[in-house]
Amino acid sequence: MFLRVVAAEYLKEKHSPVWLAFFILPLIPAVLGTANYSINTDLLTGQWEDLWTQHTLFNCYFFLPALMGIYAAWLWRLEHQQHNWNLVLTVPTPIVYVYGAKLLIAALLLCCTQVWIGVLFYLSGKMCGFTESFPLLLVCNWLACGWLGGMTICVWQMLLSLVVRSFAVPVGIALLGGFAGLAATAKGWGLYFPYALMAVGMRANTAHAELDCGAAPFLFFTISYGLLFILLALLFLDKAEMAARE
C-alpha cells in the first residue's frame, strides 16, 4: 500500500516545475564559484579542495536550506488548500504512509541534487585544468554526509510547513536559520544546530577528508534530530484537527 501512496504523491507533483529549481540553482554557485576560484588562483592553491569550498560554502548556508524550505512547503501546500485535508484524512490509508511518501520524495530529490552538485564540481575542475586526479571517494563522502545533514533540515522544514500553513513563512525561517547556522558553526556549535548540519557534513568551510567533529557525533545528532522531527510531525498529524484548521 505504501508504494501506491508514493505513486499517488508522484502523480500530484510530477508536473510541478519546482524540481527544476534543484537543478538550475546549483548551476549558479558552480559557475560563479569556479569564476571566483579562477580569479584567485594565487591565493587558492589546493586544487579540488579549494574549488569545493568555493562551490559549497554559500550554497550550504544560505541557499540549500531555503530551497529545502520551498520544497517542504510545496509538498504540504496541496493538502493545505481547497479543503484537501478532508480528503486525505478520509481515504483508507494510514497518515504515516502519506507523511512517509512525502519524505521519500524529498529524500530522493535531495539525493539527485547532491549528485548534480558532484557532477558540476567534476566538470568545473576539468574546466579549470586541474592536474590532480579527481578524488571520487572523498567527494562521495562529502556528498553523502551533506545529504544526511540536509535531510535533518528537510524533516524540520516539513514539520514547520505542516504546522505553519503559510507557504512563504517557513522559507523565510529557513533562510534566517541558514544564516544563524553560519554563526553557530563559527562559534563551534554547528553540530548542535540543525541548519548547520548540512554544511558540517559537506565540509563546506574546510574541505577535510575527516569530519572535524568526528563521524559518530555527526551521525548521532543528524539521526537524533531527524527522528525527533519525524516523531513530532507524526504526533501533530495524529493529534491536531487538521481538517478543522482550514
Binding site: L25, F62, R77, A168, V171, L175, F179
Partner: protein, 255 residues
C-alpha cells in the same frame, strides 16, 4: 495620494491584520543586530576609529544575502492572500487593478522602511555604546537608507508581480533565492557592464565604503566612496519601467 488609493492601502493593512507579517522582519533585524554585536566585540582600535564605515561596508553584504529572499517572502504573502478562494476575481470587480498593485507595493514599502530604520537604530546604538569616533556620518546614513530602500523596493516590485501573476508561489521564491545568489556573487565578481543588468547586484554597486586590505600586516583600512548617483538613477528608471510593464501585464491577465 488619491482617496481611492488611500482606501485601497488601508484595506491592504486591514487584510494583513493578525497575519504577523512583521515577524520575519523582526527576526531578520534581531539576527543582523546579533551579527553586528558579535562583530563589534572583537573590533581592534583601528576598527573602532572607522566603526561607522565598517558597518556601512558589512550591512550591504548582509542585505544582499537576506533582503532578496525576505522581499520574495513578503511579496508572496501579500499576493497569496488573493489567490486563495479566487479572491482576485472578486477584488478586480470592485477595485482597479493598478490601485491594487500600488497599494500592495506601498504596503510592502512601509515594512521595508521600518526594517531599514531598525538597522540604522541598531547601528547607532552599538556605535554609541562602543564609542565609535565622531562625527556620525548622517549624510552617508541617509544615502544608505535611500539606496538600500530603492534596491530592495525594486526587488519587492518584481517579486510582487511574479507572485500576483503566477499562482504557484514556489516560482517567486525560487526567483528570490536565485537573485540572492547573483547578488552575493556580484560582491566578489565586479563585472560592471553585466552587473548593471542584474537587479540584485545593486546592493554592491551602491556601496558607500571601500576597503583596502593589507595582506602582510592583516590590517584593513576603510575609505568613503562617493555616492553612485548614476547607478541610482538607472535603478530608479528601471523601477518605473518595471512598474509600467507590470501594471500592463496585470491589466491584461485573465484571473
Amino acid at each position: 495620494m488619491s482617496m481611492k488609493l488611500w482606501n485601497t492601502l488601508q484595506l491592504e493593512f486591514f487584510k494583513l491584520r493578525g497575519r504577523m507579517l512583521w515577524l520575519l522582519p523582526v527576526l531578520l533585524l534581531l539576527l543582523q543586530a546579533a551579527w553586528m554585536w558579535w562583530g563589534m566585540k572583537s573590533m581592534s582600535h583601528q576598527e573602532i576609529i572607522q566603526g561607522w564605515q565598517h558597518y556601512l561596508y558589512q550591512l550591504p553584504v548582509l542585505n544582499a544575502i537576506m533582503l532578496p529572499v525576505l522581499m520574495a517572502v513578503m511579496g508572496s504573502r501579500i499576493a497569496d492572500i488573493e489567490h486563495k478562494g479566487q479572491m482576485l476575481k472578486l477584488l478586480y470587480t470592485v477595485e482597479e487593478r493598478g490601485y491594487v498593485l500600488l497599494a500592495k507595493l506601498l504596503c510592502g514599502g512601509w515594512y521595508l522602511l521600518w526594517i531599514l530604520l531598525g538597522q540604522l537604530g541598531t547601528m547607532l546604538a552599538i556605535g554609541m555604546y562602543k564609542g565609535f569616533y565622531p562625527p556620525v556620518p548622517w549624510g552617508y546614513f541617509a544615502c544608505y537608507i535611500l539606496f538600500t530602500f530603492l534596491t530592495s523596493f525594486c526587488i519587492y516590485l518584481v517579486q510582487l508581480l511574479i507572485s500576483l501573476l503566477i499562482k504557484n508561489q514556489a516560482i517567486s521564491l525560487i526567483v528570490g533565492i536565485a537573485g540572492s545568489f547573483c547578488g552575493l556573487f556580484s560582491l566578489f565578481l565586479n563585472i560592471t557592464p553585466v552587473n548593471k543588468l542584474i537587479l540584485w547586484s545593486y546592493y554592491s554597486q551602491l556601496f558607500l565604503c571601500g576597503m583596502n586590505w593589507d595582506r602582510a600586516g592583516r590590517n584593513t583600512e576603510m575609505y568613503w566612496v562617493a555616492p553612485n548617483w548614476g547607478s541610482f538613477l538607472l535603478l530608479a528608471a528601471g523601477f518605473l519601467v518595471t512598474l509600467w510593464i507590470g501594471w500592463r501585464l496585470l491589466e491584461r491577465k485573465e484571473c
